[in-house]
Amino acid sequence: MKPVRMKKLKAVILDEKVDNVVRQLHESGIVELCDLSEKLEDVEWKSLLSPSSHADYVRNVTTLMIKASRILDLFSNVNPKEVSVKDILNPKPIEKKKVQFNTHEEVIEYCEKVLNEISKEVDEPSEKLNELENRKSKLLQLKDQISYLKGLEFDLKDLGPGVYVYIGCGSVPKEKVNELKSELDKVTEEYIEVFTGEEFEKDNKIRVPIVFVTLKEKLESVLSTLRKFEFERYDISDVEGTPKEALQKIESELKNIESEIKSLIEKLKSLATKWENELLVVYELLSIEKERGDAYSQFGKTNRTYYIEAWVPAKDAEKAKKIIEESSEGYAFVEISEPDEPEEKIPVLLNNPKPIKPFEMLTEMYAMPKYNEVDPTLLIVPGFLLFYGIMLTDAAYGLFLTIVGLWTWKKIGKVSEGAKKLGYILTLAGMATIIMGIITGGYLGDFMYEFLNIDIYKMGLAFVNPLGASNFIKNGPIAILGFSIAVGLLHLFIGLLVGFIENIKKKNTMDAIYNQGIWILLILALVIGILCPIYPIVLAGYHVSIIILIAIAIVVIMCAIKGAKENGFMGAFLGAMDITGFLGNVLSYARLLALCLATGGLAMAVNIMAKIVGSSIPIIGIILAIIILIGGHAFNFVMNGLGAFIHSLRLHYVEFFSQFYEGGGKKFSPFKANREYTTT
């Protein structure tokens, strides 16, 4: 019920051996390294140890990683991965490559070798591709600009500076042409000739291409005048012939480039399929080395030794000690001690038996428990499944959910840990739904009654009818409501009891009484008072046992005292109202009935609509009815399946956890090699 007990591991290791120690610890993945840099700020520590920085080889590793990721980027550009629905629903696990390296030098050497080999094959086509793509974009720009110069017959190679004159081209808005011409004549003293071509439209504006010839020494003033007239200058060079001829030439060159690019991409694609996996292996190996090298920055060091602190689960402590001693060949001193830091600094690792381990996901979603707090996972499981079952309560939906859950667990779960856990939870929830569905006689709502004319409630196949009477229980909704409230009281009682015991253990007797004790008393009084109503008092026509009234009075007074202690008179008044909060918690469980009815009721609504459509429209009515049935039930299943999940969670997070659970621990994150593509 408590998170795993932790030990603190402290080790002093000879500098020559530390690399191997880090390697072996990383491979084993059982310790969480402590970052000492903050501790080393302390004056006393400072006199003994100096902070250590990243290992020297990290720089080499990073360089290689950049190289590898660049090639990976190139590969994913030319060979984009297509993910089909089939791959999502039934993913293939990644084939892992077996690797064996003893030092970082070996890894770096290996990766360098592979990367060199890959670059030898990839560099040339990729550089060529780059070049061609640059050329292509330049040609496209040229083509664009030249195409605007329609109606101007001149040789494009004459553009630019000559011996005495300068020839330039560009375009201006149509309405400014005349004004521009006269202005240019003015600033150049008519040492300019301007030719205009056919107008064209660009960005919703009519523009006119112009070519101007002017004396070189007038160029400056010409350009500054042109700028005032929204002149767009075309920078055309290395082209010969009239615009029309040039365009043809560019077209044919573009065509050649296109086909060349295509063949290059094909070539790179085949290289990608050949090398991609190997490259991913290399990248992973390098990232693992980098993680190891980076770990050094968390250590402290002296002249010849490194000092390491780490958290290790108590049961692995001896193992970790042995790993350090063996991998350092004895040149290390290791000490294992009880945690010497405040509770919130100790990492929390949950440890539940395998069948309920996946439910840790639900605990974590709220918050990890604190180190000395109860791990509520075990307490969540029965309530969660029961509530889910009651809220979805349909055997057919349950069966479908079980299948979905099994598929997620077994197929998608192969590659995703999260899917595995979720699939497992959904499978169990599905089974709970089937059981509750059978008890309440829900099979696609009242499908059996509407279409097959079988009334399961009259035949005695279902225990309770959520919308009426069955052979066993006359008033179904009230029976379920009573059950919901009873389950709610029990659920709250469990939560309160756990909180009470925890508070007593921590010697917070007052908290135990005020926060949990009085409510436990109230619940007990309610149960006793309802089961054996002694000394009943008539209240508004109902007989209420005196036990309940006394308990309520005690609770109100105690709450008022508690409130008064904290906030004086106003606090007492507000405290006396606490009982409404308790009442709210209990009534909140009534949602079990409401959601149970919502699923069954909506399924029934779908059936009724299908039946009306099926019987009132001839021929196609049956097809429409089937569409309504399939679509409607699928919709209802998804909506209520999701709703049941979240409302079930809510009852735990809001009503249940508030009785005893706070959370806020830091998750244990082991120093561990994360291997997706490799294995040792």
Binding site: A367, A540, T580, G584, L587, G601, A605, M639, I646, G663
Partner: protein, 218 residues
């Protein structure tokens, strides 16, 4: 005696109409946020749909109660039918609040997928009010209580109590939206955020309680 079908029909209309109004506004609010999210990242379309589905449940409850009134509990007291429609319809306006919370939830999940579960839990809080409305509607229709409070015009009081108190869902939605933002920044804020976000529910519980007392005592 008023014609049973007449009051029942009004109840059914109120249930679908008011709850639909709430759901429409709520889904619209979430949808606007969804459109923004999808514009940034088209892959988030599925997530947007899931969050937009949340404020639509109120409309479904209204629809459900209308069907129950018109087809299943045809023999219930006419005032109970009317009250049931009122309860579900008014409480269904909590969908506006849920829409606000869902919009915040969707925005947070668009930034960081890992808080999907938490955002969901917060977004579903303002549905409690609608569930209480549905609960009272069912209690009225099933005819659990036989007193005047459940079968005469007083049944409207029960419907009003839980229905108007259900509007607290709008406030709860706003708090929940804020709590989602806080949790997105600091995942440990979840517990305290929940405590704050559940506060406005107190009034829905008062409404529920009074509705039950009306049916029980009058």
């Amino acid at each position: 005696m008023v014609d049973a079908l007449l009051l029942g029909a009004i109840g059914a209309g109120l249930a679908v109409g008011l709850a639909g109004l709430g759901s429409g506004i709520g889904a619209g609010i979430t949808g606007a946020s969804g459109a923004g999210v999808v514009a940034e990242d088209p892959n988030k379309f599925g997530t947007a749909i899931v969050f937009q589905a949340l404020p639509q449940t109120q409309g479904l409850y209204g629809f459900l109660v209308a069907i129950l009134i018109l087809f299943v509990f045809k023999t219930a007291s006419p005032w109970a039918m009317f009250g049931a429609g009122l309860a579900t319809g008014l409480a269904g306006l909590s969908a506006i609040g849920q829409g606000i919370a869902s919009a915040a939830g969707l925005g947070a999940v668009a930034e960081d997928n890992s808080i999907f579960g938490k955002a969901m839990v917060f977004s579903v809080l303002p549905e409690t009010q609608a569930i209480y409305g549905l609960l009272i509607a069912i209690l009225l229709l099933v005819g659990v209580f036989k007193g005047a409070g459940a079968v005469s015009v007083a049944a409207l009081g029960a419907g009003f109590a839980v229905g108007f108190a259900g509007l607290s869902g709008i406030g709860q939605g706003i708090t929940a939206a804020g709590a989602i933002g806080a949790t997105a920044r600091d995942p440990d804020a979840m517990g305290k955020g929940l405590v704050l976000a559940v506060m406005p529910e107190t009034f829905a519980i008062f409404g529920l309680l009074i509705a039950i007392l009306i049916m029980l005592m009058v």
